[in-house]
């Protein structure tokens, strides 16, 4: 399929696949930082499982991206040998784990978006994109069930858990606008019928997120200045630190095998 694309569309699709792959890779790496540190053994397993799903999806998206780019790079080159400015992930997903409430809130914002987003993407006419997206929907539904329950439990739990959950919502809300980022790349791919048009996404997400946050007795911050930039490679300071740790082995020992 990707062989039939003209150069212009090919470049746009490559960029778009980097967004999808980078989102999953960076979130997966963040979650993996909990491995061995989570508040309880069950939670350790849960977060590691979600991380594994994310890294698995990242692998698929980046493999496809490398194939579309067709310049001899593979998924590992894309993951380990690009610099900060070349990463196109959402700012939300590179934010540090901080405490359990921040980790769960980040996951809740992303998974509740992802469940709508990947259902739409599963309708793509590109078979590979549709396939990995329909897989992502199923996996995301498990992630969402898990973090939605935690949102309620933390928000409507003890005084301290409520305080921490509200702080997390206050800290992370400003990154949620970027979930709906669109530019000429999206427009072109929609025109080319590669991407479905997803205009109602924002309203659906907002309604759902509000419903759960209300159940969790948490408030959505008012008059927040929204932050964007990740899709253009302009990141918060946290991504550089994450990449340094994630890429050090591959960069110190290029082509190492084990």
């Amino acid at each position: 399929m990707s062989h039939q694309l003209n150069d212009y569309v090919r470049a746009a699709l490559f960029e778009y696949l980097l967004r999808l792959g980078d989102d999953k890779l960076i979130l997966g790496h963040r979650l993996s930082e909990w491995c061995g540190h989570a508040p309880a053994l069950e939670e350790d397993i849960a977060l590691a499982n979600i991380a594994l799903d994310c890294v698995g999806q990242a692998n698929a998206f980046l493999t496809f991206a490398a194939e579309v780019e067709d310049k001899g790079r593979n998924e590992d080159d894309l993951a380990y040998f690009r610099n900060e400015i070349q990463f196109k992930n959402l700012l939300l997903l590179e934010q540090p784990n901080k405490d359990f409430a921040h980790t769960i809130t980040r996951q809740f914002f992303y998974s509740s978006f992802g469940i709508y987003f990947f259902q739409d993407l599963a309708k793509s006419k590109l078979e590979f994109l549709a396939g990995i997206s329909s897989k992502a929907v199923k996996e995301t539904s498990y992630h969402l069930r898990h973090c939605k329950e935690w949102m309620r439990r933390l928000g409507d739990g003890t005084e301290e858990s409520h305080r921490r959950a509200q702080e997390a919502v206050n800290d992370l809300w400003r990154f949620t606008d970027e979930l709906f980022f669109k530019n000429d790349i999206d427009e072109l791919l929609i025109q080319e019928n590669i991407l479905p048009d997803t205009n109602s996404l924002r309203e659906m997400w907002r309604t759902y997120a509000e419903e759960i946050l209300t159940q969790a007795t948490l408030q959505i911050p008012q008059n927040e200045n929204m932050q964007t930039g990740g899709r253009k490679g302009i990141h918060t300071e946290h991504l550089g630190h994450l990449l340094a740790e994630m890429q050090i082995v591959a960069r110190s020992y290029p082509n190492a095998k084990w």
């Binding site: 799903d53 999806q57 396939g131 897989k135 199923k138």
Partner: protein
């Protein structure tokens, strides 16, 4: 999904292997994480066909991050090489996405006897609703007085449960 006749090349000779012969060879390979099931009854083998004198075996992961895929691929190559087929490619595909609906009833029974509660019913189409609201039946004593202890288990495809009747912790193959 296998074609009825698959031609396989053996040296300079073209060998015809039937659907059953190919299936039997592949069915000799067990899932590395759940060794009681083979990769055919799990639904991991999606298709096998012959293309330009090459046997293509398509496999699909249960979960996108499934670490067993590489092992499964190596084992397929191994079995086929040692049965005289050296022109083979194993392809990992994502469409259509694997679902527990593809698991045979026989496979579900095997799981149960192995101590893993099999997936019950069809996959939930409403992605927001909680699955398995009904307690999962204990594979040891068959009691339904069980509780979910963790939605995520030792592998991505399983969840953890506890039987209140026979006090046995057990795993459940999630319905996806």
């Amino acid at each position: 999904m296998l074609q009825d006749h698959i031609q396989m090349q053996n040296g300079n000779k073209l060998m015809i292997k039937t659907k059953n012969e190919i299936l039997n060879l592949l069915a000799g390979i067990n899932d590395p994480e759940i060794p009681v099931l083979n990769i055919v009854e799990m639904g991991i083998v999606h298709r096998a066909f012959y293309e330009n004198e090459k046997l293509i075996v398509e496999i699909t992961p249960t979960y996108s991050g499934c670490p067993a895929m590489k092992v499964i691929e190596d084992e397929i190559l191994d079995v086929m090489y040692s049965n005289g087929c050296d022109n083979i490619e194993v392809k990992k595909i994502f469409a259509p996405a694997w679902t527990t609906d593809w698991m045979t009833e026989k496979a579900k029974d095997k799981l149960k006897n192995y101590g893993i509660a099999p997936p019950e019913g069809k996959t939930e189409k409403d992605f927001f609703r909680d699955q398995n609201k009904k307690p999962v039946k204990c594979p040891y004593c068959k009691s339904v007085k069980t509780k979910l202890t963790n939605r995520f288990g030792s592998t991505a495809c399983k969840s953890l449960h506890f039987c209140l009747e026979c006090t046995q912790p057990f795993e459940h193959f999630k319905c996806i």
